[in-house]
Homo-oligomer: 111 residues x 3
């Protein structure tokens, strides 16, 4: 099974890290693929390589969790695309990506 | 692909207008159909013809975006059904409509 | 059709009771099955047998609505598993359950 998490606020970023870990640790469900889509600048800014959450996020990336930042939101003054953790993908729009992934069979979970 | 947005607060109404525009502008995804379901009276009141958002909402209606207001919520004292923008549909329940659309293959995005 | 509601805050618990009732009362949609997944301790605590919401929740359970509490969240100090209403199911994780139900064809509604 596959799951996409939808995150908008900076406060939700550490919560989604915990929730993805819970999902991957749940042996009652076979998870093939997990993605996190962030669609607000303040949340995306927490994906910077110097973020206090960088270690937890790198761990997710190492476990093949896709972190996807909305290009429209990444124009926010707090976000510098060049400072994002290596492996974060910038997508043409958060809403387009959420549609595409659900159309491909991903379950959707809103933080 | 098809997408339904779920909106409850008045503050989310201008945000969903922007998000629908982002979705329709995203050339990486082929969108056949978009709906917005509003399930609280305070949000539905922003669909009045004299709303400050009326121009943006009329533009969405002109582009075949369906605006759907929950009948239960439309009983709210701030809402007058006769004052809603022409083209807004009143549905028997927001939750029923959200179920029906997802069952028909719509992706779901919660504001 | 089938619907799963996702609830996190205690304030959302009475709202979801009303929304499930609206869904079951909506004659325009044929509902086979409804579930509610709660993934935060403060919300799960409102499923105690002595909760002010107990009568409404028992009525939902009597109508075969499944109430599912996330085991991770049920470790919260406010929650005592033994005090939960009879019929509430504790699931291995809220996110796993939400994935499994959507994979089985449930529509998802976030409170």
């Amino acid at each position: 099974m596959r799951t996409v998490f939808h995150v908008s606020t900076p406060e939700e970023v550490p919560v989604v890290v915990a929730k993805v870990r819970n999902l991957l640790a749940d042996e009652s469900v076979e998870i093939e693929s997990v993605a996190v889509v962030l669609d607000r600048g303040e949340a995306i800014a927490r994906l910077h390589a110097d973020s206090d959450l960088a270690d937890g996020l790198r761990d997710l990336l190492d476990r093949n969790v896709a972190l996807k930042a909305c290009r429209n939101a990444a124009r926010h003054p707090e976000v510098s695309e060049g400072d994002l953790l290596e492996g974060v993908e910038v997508v043409s729009s958060g809403v387009g990506e959420l549609t595409r992934l659900q159309d491909a069979g991903y379950a959707y979970i809103r933080l």
